[in-house]
Each structure stands twice: as C-alpha cells, then as structure tokens.
Amino acid sequence: MNGNHTLSLPQKLNVALFGDKIRTIISILLIFIAVFAGPGLINWLLLDATWVGTSEDCRVNGGACWAFLGVKLNLIVFGAYPTAEIWRPMVFMALLTLIAAYAYQRPRSIKQVILCLCVAFIVGLLLMRGGILGLPVVANTRWGGLPITLIVTLAGLGASFPLGILIMLGGASENPLFRIPCRLYVDVIRGIPAITLVFMTFAIVPLLMPQGMMIDKLLRAALGLTFLTAAYFAEALRGALEALPKGQDEAAAALGVGYWKRQRLIILPQVIANSMQPLANIAIAFVKNTSLLIIIGLFDLLGAARSSLFDGDWQGYYRELYLFVGLIYLVICLFLESYVSKLETERSGRISR
C-alpha cells in the first residue's frame, strides 16, 4: 500500500473526510449544519454587528451589538466602583497578571509566587479600600465585578487548602475523635448542593456570632465557598494519601520523626504532588463557583455584568454580554489548567533526571 505521503492534498482530504462509512456520514451532517446555520451565525457575529455606536445603530443593523460592551465595560468589569477611582482595582489586576506571567515562566518558584500573591492580595485590598496615602475610602459594598471574583478566589483557595489538608489528616487519623467528624464533614458537604451551603453560611453564621457582632457580607460569602471547597480538597488529597505506600510514614516514624514533621516533610509533599490534577480541577471549580455569590446579592463578575442589562436604553443584549463574560472566565480557567499541566511536566522532568 502507498504511504499517505504520496497522496496529494485533495486526496488526503478525501480520505480524511470520506474515507469510510462513518466519516462520510459525519461529513455530510457537518456540511449540512454549516450550510444551514453558518451564514446566519457569521452575519450575526460579524457582518451585521455594530462595533461602535449607539443602541439605535444596533437596532438598525440587527446583528450583535458589541458597542453595548464598550459602553458598559466599566460596569461589567468593575461593578459600582467609583469611576474616578477605577485605576485602583486596575492596578490590583495588573499586579495579579504580572504574577501570573511570572509564575508561568518560572514553574519551579512556587514559594515565591505564593509569597507574591499574598503581598499583592493585601496591597490590592488596601488600595481598593483606600484610607491610606490620602486615597478616599471606598466601602466594600461598592466593590464589584472581576476584582471581587479574584479576591474571593484568592482568599477562598488560600483558606480552604490548609483547611482541606487538616481535614484530610483528621480523616486519616487513628483517633476516632478526629476521624469520625472529619469524614462526616467531607461526606455531608459533598452530598449537598454548593448553593445551599452558600445560603447556609449566609443565614446561619450571623446566628452563631455573639450579639451585635456582624461579619462582613463579602467575608460570609467567601466562607461558604471555603467550607465547600475544603471538603473537596480533603477528598482529593485522601485519594492520593491512600495511594502512598504506608512504609513512607512508618520509616519516618521509626527514625523518630514526630507527627507534624512527618506530615510536613514526608507525607504532604508527595500527596500534593500526586494529586495535582484533581486539585487543579477543584481550583477551577472554585473560580466558577464564585458566580454563585450573585444569588446572595453580591456583585461578582457575573453579578456586575448582569446589572448592566437593566439599562432601559440597552435592553436585550444578553447574548453579547454572556459571551464576553464567559470569555473572561474561560481565560482564567484555561490559564489555571495550562499552568498546572506545566507544573506537572516540569516536575516529571525533574524526577526523571
């Protein structure tokens, strides 16, 4: 038989698209769909679209109204944050982008990246709140949009990962006093919908506080997602822990290494490294779950974006809006995904060396 390389391009295409019965059926189906839906889609997305202009232009052109996004960009991305002060969240986001780029370039320096993130987080919060360096104070009830999503993600992941580790260790403990509550916690939390947990922390946490003490709305919201994610982290880590040979722990114990030191130096580094992929999926799920905050009335990215739909002049452009906001989430999640796979290839390269 001739190798594929002797075929000309049309012949190759012919084999690829009509090589056997199944491929032929799929090709015909796809061509049919493309002819049926393609022109309308391209017209709407590009040809009839309005790129700049007023809502009147959009109505006349009939296609997608990208001009709407241009007009509402500040509201969509930054919520109700005062327009004159918008450079502050912008600086915060620029800092995070820089750190992300640095992390991607240097996958080995995780510790520095975490340190940088902590600093950027604190600087960002101070900057957005103001009250220092002569900046006017902006109460966090006026924060919104992408910065809220990023803040809640950073704080929530930062808090839930250590919590998840503790719960995992508790669940693996020989002492039933720790083991039973930890296992129960993981099972119960994983059994109920995320949204009920967010509601619950929102409704119940104030009851648990001493009278007169109020917890900030933003913090309460992040708390629910943190409790949720800790359970998922614990479960993912438990899987890796059970796959770890028992000899690792026993050898260290025989050498007289204490419990916490053993976990910190022997167990956790291996467990975390071996569960990279599930951990990354949980982190991505967290980013997506921040959108649940809209349900308790917080203006995260999705919430702020949605509020831009309530303008009487610009009604009904939800498709453009959600495509755009979806793209932002997509970029964040795909970045996390490719960063983790980069970490993994880097690590496997180091081990095989």
Partner: protein, 373 residues
C-alpha cells in the same frame, strides 16, 4: 508494661479528654447562643412548621398544590420538580456525552475539533452563566405566542415554553401497551438470539405490532390527543414545558454532557489497544470489536465517574433558583425566609439529596454487577 509506653498512653488519654471537653463546651456555647438569638428574633425551632399553611404559589408542580397547602406539601412539590428536571437531564446528558465522545473517537478530525471546542468552552465557564444565557434565549429571544414556532403539528415553541399535545387516558394506555410490546420484543429477542435461535421473523412481527398499535388506535377512534389551543395571550390545553424548565434542562444537559464525554473518551482510550487488535485478529469487524469488546470494558471503567457526574447534575439542578424554576431549594428558601428556620431547612435539603444519592448509587451498583466477569 514499659513505662515509656504507659507515659505515652497517659498523654493520649489526657489529650482525648481535653479535646472532648473542649468540643462539648464549644457545642454547648454555640447551641445556647443560637437558642438565645432565635428566641430574641421570635423564631420557632423543630419541624412543626411543616404542617403550617405555606401561603405562596409555586409556578409548576407534578403533584397537586395551591397556596393553602402546607409547607411540607410545598417542599414535596419542589422535590417533585427537582426529580423531573434531574431525571430528564440525566438522559439527555448521557446522550449528548455519548455523541461528543463518539465524535472525538470517530477519527473525523473536524468532528473531533468541534467536540473538543464544545467541551473546553462549556467546562470552563460557570454553569450559572450558561443558565442565564439559555434563560435569555427561552424568554427574550423566542417569539411571542402570536409568532410561535411550529416544530410539529401541535408542538409549539414560544417565549411561554414548549406546548405539546397530550394523550387522554385511553390513548395513554395504548402508548404504554405499544412501549411494552417493543421492550418485550427487544429483550426477549436478545434472549432468543443468545440461545442461537433465528429471530428475524419474531422481531419483524414484534416491531410491526408495537409500531402499528398507536396509528390503529388513532384511526379507530380509541382515545384522542388534547391539542394545545392558541389564544391571544396564552395557549390552553395539552401539556407545557415552562421556559424555566427548558432553561434548566438544556443548561444541565449541555454542561454535564461535557463531563460524561470526557469520561467516556478516557475510558475507551484506557481499554488496552491490544484488545481491539486481538478482536481484529479473531476476525471481528471494527464495529463488532467496538460493540462487543471495547465498549463493555470501557463502560465498566467509566461507570463510577459517570455516576459521580450524574450526582453533580442532581446537585446542580438547585441552580434553578436563579432562573425561577421552583425546585426543592427554591421552594425551601422561600419557606426559610418566611419561617426563619434555616437549620431545619438545611437538614431537609440534606435528607433529600442524600436520598437521591443513595438511589443513584444503588442503581449504579446493580449496573456494575452486570458488567462484572
């Protein structure tokens, strides 16, 4: 006993006693605080409120319900809605996942790319955002009743939902009978075939009776269809799937379909390629080898992950609250706002979702046992 061991033991005992003491003290503190706060706010405790009058309406329900019914009945109505959307989405998500996995495994590069694009984009955006998008499609972009889309005679799509004809009791029974005949033909035919019998004639007779019963009943005038009737502002008669239901159904199916597709694809890839080659060496065709050798093994590998994705689907159906679909959580939250009994409501949620979890897990165990060898 070695004194160092004894000391160790004493230490453990002290720690345990101390921990128990702390936990009990903390729980007592929290409980008394909550009790105090609840009393101050005039909120009852316990499940007595379930028999009180709910006093709010629910958009749709599988069981009879009106505002005069009790909270318990309202929650039951919400639970029935959760089941309705969850069960129908589960089937659609499985079908969609199968389709996308098939596209990725077909060897057709364009189909593969389209399926990958679908999976990447849908998996990496929040489900809630997708639900808002679909809700817009079903409530804003679809035409009003006046300009409705007619999909089939009697099946209308408009911004008030999907209207379809429903059979009356007699015709419904005929439908059931037809379905029973078809299922019997399939199952008994397979059993006959496994014994080596020739089943072509049996199948032809079974299928023609099964498919023929409904038209026969329709022409002889046994039973009739309740057709939706178009009014100026509403469609009366027949059945309707509300825009909220359609939103949740489409959104959940498309979202969960990506996870199922990835799982299936991974499972098929994980079945050793040697299996397919061995089947080919034995003279099986590509289709036979896939159907008889690869698929059964892949299903077994994929089943646990698919079950956990389906459980996620059930939990995600609670996002219906964001688009106004009256599922359990949506109805329950209204009850929670009216009575203030948050803790009791959470317990009810947990009970409901744990029940569904147990049912699905049991079903999967039965399936898994079938694939055991």
């Amino acid at each position: 006993m070695n004194p160092s061991f004894r000391r160790e033991r004493m230490r453990h005992l002290t720690i345990q006693v101390f921990t128990i003491g702390t936990v009990v003290a903390l729980l007592w503190l929290v409980a008394s605080m909550v009790q105090h706060r609840l009393e101050l706010m005039g909120i009852n405790t316990g499940f007595g409120f379930l028999s009180n009058r709910a006093g709010y309406d629910i958009g749709e329900s599988l069981i009879p319900y009106d505002g005069d019914a009790s909270y318990g009945r309202a929650l039951l109505a919400g639970f029935s809605n959760t089941l309705k959307v969850a069960v129908s989405s589960i089937f659609a998500a499985l079908a969609l996942g199968l389709l996308a996995a098939g596209a990725m495994l077909s060897g057709h590069s364009t189909a593969n790319r389209i399926a990958k694009f679908y999976i990447k984009t849908v998996r990496n955006t929040p489900l809630l955002l997708q639900l808002f998008f679909w809700f817009g499609i079903f409530t804003i972009s679809l035409p009003a009743i006046r300009d409705r889309l007619t999909l089939l005679p009697g099946v209308y799509l408009s911004n008030r939902g999907l209207n379809y004809p429903t059979p009356d009791l007699a015709l419904g029974l005929v439908f059931l009978l037809a379905l029973a005949i078809l299922v019997f033909t399939l199952i008994y035919g397979a059993r006959l075939r496994s014994r080596g019998a020739k089943t072509r004639l049996f199948s032809i007779i079974g299928w023609s009776i099964g498919l023929g019963v409904v038209p026969l009943a329709a022409t002889t005038g046994i039973g009739h269809l309740n057709m939706p009737e178009i009014g100026r502002f509403a469609i009366k008669g027949g059945g309707v799937l509300s825009p909220e239901f359609m939103t949740l159904f489409i959104g959940l199916s498309i979202y969960t379909g990506t996870y199922i597709a990835e799982t299936l694809r991974g499972a098929v890839m994980a079945v050793a390629s040697g299996q397919g080659e061995a089947a080919a060496a034995l003279g099986l065709t590509r289709g036979q080898s896939f159907r008889l050798v690869v698929l059964p093994q892949a299903t077994r590998i994929a089943l646990p992950s698919i079950v956990s994705e389906l459980l996620n689907l059930v939990k995600n159906s609670s996002l219906g609250v964001a688009v106004g679909y009256p599922d359990l959580v949506s109805v329950g939250n209204t009850a929670m706002n009216q009575t203030g009994q948050a803790i009791e409501m959470i317990a009810i949620y947990m009970l409901a979702y744990v029940t569904i979890n147990v049912i699905i897990t049991k079903c999967s165990q039965v399936l898994e046992a079938r694939y055991e060898w």
